[in-house]
Symmetry: C2
Subunit: 398 residues, 2 copies
């Protein structure tokens, strides 16, 4: 231990322990490896494959042409956008919000980082149901907090495990941090699950920070519920949203937070020294996204649903290699690797990439070994290519 | 103390001490107050008043039209932009850089935040010459570090005080964090000053994090030097730049870092959970900014220089109220208030706003009482209006 630390110090005495302790992201390791290989079949993307809808792009262009994008906006965001967000929250999330409860952030990620810094003290614990999004864990660590990983019930579609959550609570627990729909499992938490979670949160005087990036993508009749809309939860929840997934805008870096009005100025204190304000051109695009036609969302959802069906059917044929829970939301799924090599998911994913030319994301990136994450935010042809290759590689008869 | 803490806890038990301990930003308090008053003469802006040059806007529009802006870029930024940055660093900053020494950030602010998180451990000290930029202090605090404020030599144009810096160094000192040209004083550190500082840094095995946002704006023949270009400093300096001030792009949120190649992946570990990547539309705009015609910079510089002369001349007439150091760079200056009310700069600035209709920024925002910051990034008419009002208010014969 001492020698390890000494070596680390010698290697780079100027880098913080915070940074050194973070292993190289398996996601980015896979991306780099993929770049070295020709003709990869990608099932590892979590970015929309389509371009941003034309009316949104045109609104951005109009704002640029009118000279509206040169200067900072208010740190909390453009008033017109905050107003549009309150209407969307009422319409879709059943959250009653006023503009002073809104902060426009540089994507959901910056909103989450600012929210955690504004709430979590050093050494306070934050419960994260896993499999969970790796950046959430990093954000808790950056705030000095301790991420406490609590497994979900895989066999029941990665449902929240209320008993495990409740027994993980200590006097140091500050918050529960989750994504709904879940990245990477595609789980969608039901109203009943969220009500039960709310009970735990209220009884223990905790708060919830929820990443609802995939809110519009649910399937098979499952519905997305915002935990902030439940009784007595308005003042205990920081809900984080983004335009990224809904409107194919990952590159634009714009999202928003809803929280009680007296928390917003506290979150802004963290938002200013990491962002100042969200990119203004993207804020104008976001206004058009909320106020323009919404058919693009149904189009994206239908496409993801079709690819999800295709992917599940192809996985059924690979049942000697993978077991899976049918995803109810997001555009992601998280099959368990039955193959004996699957215990080390990073090695498994690297081998699959090098030997079969298929790029997936190892489960270890989501704090859950023995799985890979597959994205169905791809084309039908990509799924066909990837699964043809895997069937061939694993010697499954086609 | 106990009661204060208890009250604070009661008022908002869910907010972190980190957030609670940050006072409301005097800059934003002034902005809010200004919004309540009609017809304010603003000398408080530090944002360019002109629109972004047309060729930069057109490049952004072209990228949007071509569908290049929907998806994330690499987390470190577009390869073409990193390449263009290396040429600019060689050309203007005399820094030899390779693309793997570059990280494109969401403005200088996000780059600074990520750099500090990647280097500063909890309780390590960071020396900040003051007057200094308030967000720098916040960023050190967010990283868990202790900002150690060291005064500069006001009478010598806010020169760095090497003796004071050297005597502030302890076994816990990690870095020196400064802006050059300086916000808020407009000081430009000479090559000799920076060489002397480099000696201190090397002797004490420290690093330097330098915010060079105003690098292109120096006057009276003074030249900007990048400390990273000095002998033996390439590997000890994280230099942070932005397109914001140079090309009138504050709203676009795009900047960049130069650091040694083995530090960049460490800084990226912090960049991912607070930003993922810089806004892609802005990255395309930034390529055009670096590769297109550069006359806009000279135009902006000439304008700021003209307004600077006007502002100094008008300050000369108010010499019973203010004393000032002629700024050599940035578009900011930091007069000392001779008036007896000036000891509390926030009250002074509020009174000046309410009673004379002139908006300035109180010195306390820069950790230096008894001063106000004035921006000469305004129109000639604005300076005339503001100073006519101040002469009238202070009863100075016109």
């Amino acid at each position: 231990m001492f020698i390890t630390k000494l070596c680390a110090m010698k290697i780079n005495p100027h880098i913080s322990e915070r940074a050194k302790n973070i292993p190289k992201s398996p996601i980015h390791e896979m991306t780099e490896l993929s770049n070295e290989i020709d003709d990869v079949a990608f099932l590892s993307w979590a970015k929309p494959m389509s371009d941003t809808p034309a009316h949104i792009k045109n609104a951005a262009i109009e704002a640029i042409n009118k000279g509206k994008t040169a200067a900072y906006s208010q740190t909390s965001g453009l008033a017109e956008l905050k107003e549009a967000v309150t209407h969307k929250l009422k319409r879709f999330n059943n959250i009653d919000a006023t503009p002073d409860e809104i902060l426009i952030s540089s994507g959901a990620i910056e909103g989450l980082a600012a929210a955690l810094m504004a709430t979590v003290n050093p050494d306070e614990e934050v419960i994260i149901p896993v499999p969970g999004y790796s950046s959430h864990i990093r954000q808790v660590e950056i705030a000095g907090g301790k991420p406490v990983m609590v497994p979900t019930k895989e066999a029941e579609g990665f449902k929240l495990d209320m008993e495990k959550i409740e027994s993980a609570i200590t006097s140091e627990t500050k918050a529960i941090l989750l994504s709904n729909p879940n990245n990477p499992t595609g789980a969608v938490y039901s109203k009943e699950q969220l009500e039960e979670l709310s009970g735990i949160v209220k009884r223990n005087d905790l708060i919830v920070i929820v990443d609802e990036a995939y809110e519009y993508f649910t399937f098979d009749g499952y519905k997305h519920f915002s935990i902030a809309s439940l009784d007595g939860m308005h003042d205990r929840v920081i809900s984080v949203f983004t335009f990224t997934k809904t409107y194919a805008m990952t590159g634009w870096r714009v999202g928003y937070i809803h929280a009680r009005a007296d928390w917003i100025p506290q979150i802004i204190k963290m938002h200013i020294p990491i962002a100042i304000c969200a990119p203004v051109v993207s804020q104008y695009a976001a206004i058009a996204a909320l106020e323009g036609p919404q058919d693009c969302i149904a189009d994206f959802r239908n496409h993801y649903n079709r690819i999800r069906e295709q992917m599940c059917a192809r996985l059924d044929k690979l049942d000697e290699i993978f077991d899976y829970q049918r995803p109810r939301g997001a555009y992601l799924m998280f099959p368990r690797i039955k193959h004996p090599d699957g215990k080390d998911s990073l090695s498994f994913a690297k081998k699959l990439l090098k030997e079969a030319g298929v790029s997936t994301t190892p489960g270890i990136a989501f704090h859950s070994e023995g799985h890979i994450r597959l994205s169905f935010c791809v084309t039908e042809e990509m799924v066909t290519k990837a699964f043809d290759r895997m069937e061939d590689y694993f010697g499954i008869k086609q």
